[in-house]
Symmetry: C2
Subunit: 340 residues, 2 copies
């Protein structure tokens, strides 16, 4: 598989590309399934429908990898936290985790209850062309913890940061519990057939440097090393968003570093490309314009070269109103400009 | 004034400190005035009350500078955009700027309508002890533009970014109009008695590097140079939040660079301290704990030294539930640990 080879810095016929949130609302085909499902969580929990939307972008856009359609919050959900998605508000946990009692009440083995995800993986892997990779994923423990403690999205992360600075032991207990769940969950995804895994730390930038390493990065790397120990042929991709100022301190055993659009690709190259394959990082909103897309692709390809060491991606997820036509154009352009 | 001397890297008896949002909801004395005013905008527009809350933190915390109590959105407000503050939602402009017609309808001289701000400045400067500085401020053109185009706060900045990539000329017209207004507004603040000015680019990190420089930084520096040309004795502080990855490209004529908490102070020191005084950058949520506060102060003082070149501040604004007691402790600690 081109994508997997690229993760290991092997020679490939061109630079592979996939897009974060490539299965999503910008695709009319997705909206059709989503409307049939009724709501987002029902779609995540229905293997047939989840498999269908996972496969769509591979067929429609010709990307080199599918990424499992699911949500990072299925882990806390299956730990027993009631989850709802509010229009305009995003995910909401009405009973957030704030005390030892809350923490102890969490079910320890959510991976056992996530059969619908493994079923989706099997269905996708069955139907996906052999040369295309299927990427599994999980939220990073820190990002999951922010939702679990704040009770949803947050601007200030005041509750969880208060815990970090006033009760670090409690926070480490929480982080360990989530970390163990993520390990078991990703192992099961691998056993069900994914060809690579990505860990999304969407809220990495919510922590100052030293606390990021203590409460987020170290747990991510622990998971990566656990997986590499057991399944060395499965690439592990880490994506900590918004930490462009900390790149000189990034170490650990994993394969691919996901670069967000706020981190200049030349900066990531300077600090990380000798040790990791880089994935990213076009500004997604460049897709509003063909011209801006071409300019963005050319700059990144010029920096990373049409050679091993780079996987093309957006620096953040697709937005609902980006034109499908421009996404197709992007994939063609990347394949075309990086042909060896 | 110790604060002004520090901005020019002159010798001072200790490192001065003030805090972003030091006049705010965490102070019971502020809440009293705020409740009397009824709502936030009324408070901003009432010089007596605005002056009172501006002065409070100087008396209560013994910070070395007062910062004018106002809101960055008074410029678009006085350009004719109807503004309301919604509970939980933040500021809302019901009629955002999206077209040339919208842009042309904006009143060009909002500084003429901002007399209540200049009145507040005069009242504060009258009552403020002579050795304490009064800082005036404005939102950066880019940050103001995000509110004006998005119609409020935004997670994705999809509308304004769409304009950036599809109609850059329109965006530059908008940026120029706002920039001229900011220049005139800050000149009037200086003429009314402020001793320094800070330009807040709270949403600097919403743009990828090259677009940040094109649509935000260049306009900020244009304002700074305009002010320095006319009032060289007034320090100009620029605070672009979240651009830790771009520090190697920061140039221009201004005095102080504000470092947010997500940018490691040692990184800012490395790239910028030979050319600028640095201001910042303790993680505000460290103030939840005395111990974390001490640890944070010690680390920053160790990095920056008890010598010219540094102004202590938080790396972002005070939060409403931070204990006043810890804020007092912070000010004492900084004064104490940096005594020459």
């Amino acid at each position: 598989m081109i994508f997997v080879d690229a993760c290991f810095k092997k020679e490939t016929p061109y630079t592979p590309i996939w897009m974060m949130r490539q299965a999503g609302r910008y695709l009319p085909e997705y909206m059709e399934v989503r409307n049939k499902a009724g709501d987002f969580l029902t779609l995540c929990k229905n293997p047939e429908m989840a498999a269908e939307v996972t496969l769509q972008p591979v067929e429609i856009l010709n990307v080199d990898a599918a990424i499992l359609f699911s949500d990072i919050l299925v882990i806390p959900l299956e730990m027993g936290m009631e989850l709802r998605f509010e229009k305009g508000e995003g995910p909401v946990f009405d009973k957030p985790i704030r005390t030892k009692e809350d923490l102890n009440a969490l079910y320890e083995y959510p991976e056992e209850r996530l059969g619908y995800v493994y079923e989706t993986i099997k269905l996708v892997r069955d139907k996906l062309p052999k040369e295309k990779a299927l990427i599994g994923f999980s939220g990073a423990p820190w990002t999951l913890a922010t939702y679990m403690v704040e009770g949803g999205g947050s601007k200030t992360y005041a509750n969880i940061k208060k815990l970090i600075y006033t009760d670090p032991e409690f926070m480490h207990d929480l982080m360990r519990k989530i970390t163990e769940a993520v390990k078991a969950y990703l192992i099961k995804q691998i056993e069900s057939g994914v060809n690579a895994v990505q860990i999304f730390d969407s809220w990495a930038s919510a922590l100052e440097k030293e606390k990021f390493f203590e409460f987020s990065w170290d747990y991510m790397v622990d998971i990566a090393e656990f997986l590499k120990e057991r399944y060395p042929h499965i690439p592990v991709i880490l994506f900590p968003k918004g930490i462009g100022g900390y790149l000189d301190s990034i170490y650990g055993r994993f394969d691919v570093f996901g670069v967000d659009w706020g981190t200049p690709i030349e900066l990531a190259k300077k600090h990380l490309s000798d040790r990791y394959v880089l994935q990213g990082n076009m500004e997604p909103t460049r897709l509003y314009s063909k011209e801006a897309t071409r300019e963005g692709v050319e700059k990144i390809v010029q920096t990373m070269g049409a050679k091993p060491g780079h996987i093309f991606n957006l620096g953040h997820g697709m937005l609902p109103d980006l034109p499908v036509e421009n996404a197709k154009y992007l994939v063609e352009l990347v394949h075309d400009l990086t042909k060896r």
